[in-house]
Amino acid sequence: MSKNNEFVKFDNVDKSYDGKILVVKGLQLDIAEGEFVTMLGPSGSGKTTCLMMLAGFETPTHGEIYLDGNPISNIPPHKRGIGMVFQNYALFPHMTVYENLAFPLRVRKIPKDEADKKIDKALSMVSLQGFEARMPMQLSGGQQQRVAVARSLVFDPQVVLMDEPLGALDKNLRESMQYEIKHIHESIGVTVVYVTHDQTEALTMSSRIAVFNDGKVQQLSSPDELYERPVNSFVAEFIGENNTFDGTVSDITGDTCKVKLINGTEILAKPISVKSKGEKTTVSLRPERALINPEDKMDNNYKGKIKEVIYHGDHTRVRINLLENDQFILKIPNSTSNLDIKLGNDINVGWNIKDSRALDPK
């Protein structure tokens, strides 16, 4: 069976609610069959709107959405065969767990014994066998969430949409549910489109992540790619922690450029979205890529003063003033215990060109 790389396709989709502001602008997005794609972005970035258009609860103002090659804009939600998990689970409170799961099967007129088998399978997938007769109100948040997942899968949909399904759970439960959903996805190979504003969740679960901002996909790539090689400063800022230096490109040759900071220092960086001399830029550097007192020679080496030390258990966060940026963060693993990390001390910090990326100016 060959995989369809354009199983779900947003083709130049615009969406406006009031005729004044475009919530989604010219969205172009292909999702392959069996993929787990997360739409990640701050609230108001248009990600939920995209999900609702795919589910059929909103219609695109312009453009078309294709499901397995067929345009679906004119198909009502109940004929799309798309499973959905809602933010607040949306379990039917007057039905038992069994009846909740049986609902999509009954409306499809699936015979009872076959339906029972499917329900049993779906419940075992989320390890909730024996809960058939319970009412949703008698279940904990995590259990309700599992029932919602089971219900969205029980009728073997082509695509399952999940709209911030873990938002209401506490931290530990959320983490274990992340793995559980990921494993379910791996075991049945259904296409999942997942919406969240929690970047850890997105990084943990997805095969690819689409970062939304301002109605547009800023970057669509795998989690590691997204973290290691953000293509613009929004993505760099939004995913993970980030140290930045604002400046102007003073020299550019191939894979290296010199960026002149406001205080006159020139640092070396890798040009990503800058092309010529004189352009404004923001250099982005992950905290864990900057080393203190480096033994090897590094491309950039500067001295900074420690402003704040916060103990985090497995690592220590150190805020230093480096090159007149007093928000420069370092993460130091706790094994290096003999280092002289004390408030007010000066330390050497170094990093390589490939880790400091010259992106578009903020």
């Binding site: 933010q87 379990l91 499809r108």
Partner: protein, 415 residues
């Protein structure tokens, strides 16, 4: 399980020290509710008790004619009673006639059998000139009721202190001279029709209210705030307007030369000289009561619909249910508590409705409460009015009980 007593730190059993600690709070709480409790006791529970009591109380006549009833106790009821009984009646009635206290007696006995009133009135006038001895003849000469054994039987039947005859009358039954329960004669059966009409009106008003309220309540619960507030005011404005004003407005609208009839004629539905009667019949009662009771259905429905998350309908649709199936299987069942609360409220209010049917109902649209009012104010048969009231109260309680059995009262949601 062990029943070992747990002691608090000062050695007193825990249960006792807990009670002690809570007693003060309990007393405070009771003092707070005491004014309301007294108010309800005095203005609500005691009048209802008095009403129930009055409906079976028949002591007035028993106390006024003690000698007569004592004499009649031995009478077999086949032939006219003997001289001693007439004498006993003379002994009872003469002081009443002198003291001018016999009026209540006419009324009470006339309920028992018509003819008593005129007979007693005449006797009242003549009894003062009665000579001693031979009372039987003198009575028989005064008025023909004293020759009639049926009147004596009727009189004897009023002897017990307590009577349920008013309740029988309320359902078109009566006691025959031999104290068997029999049907009223066909031409005097009016209460069964009245009860049925009251139930019918209440039932259909509830249905109409439900049909009209459901979409409005849904709109109220789903529209954006600025529109739903406006709509809410439209629903509540009539609710805040005086009942009398609203009913009178309906009288203006529904009268034969009124705007609604004008419209019907203008649309050519009827000729100008054949305008339909929209008022002083059951149609007027239906229309006005439905409008007036509408908010009592809208508000409980609204408060329940407000709590139903819109994502439930979406979930239903995304799982493959057509909008209709999603409505029928998901939305509608979730609104049942609101429907129950609204229907119960409207039905119970409608069953006892008074002003509106009195003003726009006419003869064919008047309900049981209008009859109760008639017996309170015009016929002055308070005992019967009380009996009808008690029957209405029982009926409402039975409906409430049935509802609790079928739907469960904890399924009701008023907000």
């Amino acid at each position: 399980m062990s029943t070992e007593q747990i002691l608090s730190s000062d050695g007193i059993p825990l249960e006792i020290s807990l009670k002690k600690a809570e007693r003060k709070n309990k007393i405070k709480a009771m003092l707070l509710v005491a004014p309301l409790f007294l108010f309800i006791l005095i203005t609500y529970l005691m009048p209802i008790g008095d009403m129930l009591f009055r409906s079976i109380d028949d002591r007035m006549i028993t106390s006024k004619l003690p000698n007569t009833f004592a004499a009649l106790a031995k009478w077999d009821g086949k032939e006219l009673p003997d001289e001693a009984t007439y004498e006993a009646f003379y002994k009872d009635f003469y002081p009443l006639a002198i003291a001018k206290e016999s009026g209540k007696l006419y009324q009470r006995l006339n309920y028992e059998k018509s003819g008593f009133s005129s007979g007693l009135k005449k006797t009242n006038r003549k009894i003062k000139k009665f000579e001693k001895g031979n009372y039987k003849e003198q009575f028989m000469a005064t008025h023909k009721i004293w020759n009639n054994v049926e009147y004596w039987v009727a009189l004897k039947n009023t002897a017990p202190k307590w009577s349920y005859a008013k309740y029988l009358k309320g359902v078109d039954l009566k006691l025959d001279p031999d104290r068997n329960i029999v049907q009223m004669p066909e031409n005097r059966k009016i209460y069964k029709t009245l009860w049925l009409r009251t139930l019918k009106v209440a039932f259909f008003v509830t249905i109409f209210c439900f049909i009209l309220s459901y979409p409005i309540a849904h709109l109220l619960a789903t529209l954006p705030m600025k529109y739903s507030n406006l709509l809410m005011i439209c629903v509540l404005l009539p609710f805040w307007t005086s009942l009398l004003v609203r009913t009178s407005s309906w009288m203006v609208l529904l009268q034969q030369q009124g705007p609604i009839n004008d419209l019907i004629v203008m649309l050519g539905l009827t000729a100008d000289n054949a305008r339909p009667e929209l008022m002083y019949n059951v149609v007027g009662t239906f229309v006005a009561m439905t409008q007036i009771l509408l908010p009592f259905m809208v508000l409980p429905l609204y408060s329940v619909m407000k709590t139903i998350s819109p994502s439930l309908m979406r979930a239903g649709k995304s799982l493959g249910g057509t909008p209709f199936v999603a409505f029928r299987k998901i939305y509608f069942p979730l609104t049942v508590p609101g429907i129950g609360a609204g229907s119960l409220l409207v039905f119970i209010l409608a069953v006892g409705y008074y002003i509106t049917p009195a003003l726009v109902g006419g003869a064919s649209g008047s309900l049981i409460s209008n009859t109760i009012a008639y017996h309170m104010k015009s016929s002055l048969d308070w005992a019967f009015a009380s009996a009808l009231g008690a029957m209405l109260l029982t009926g409402v309680l039975v409906i409430y009980w049935l509802y609790n059995k079928l739907v469960g009262i904890d399924n009701i949601k008023l907000g």
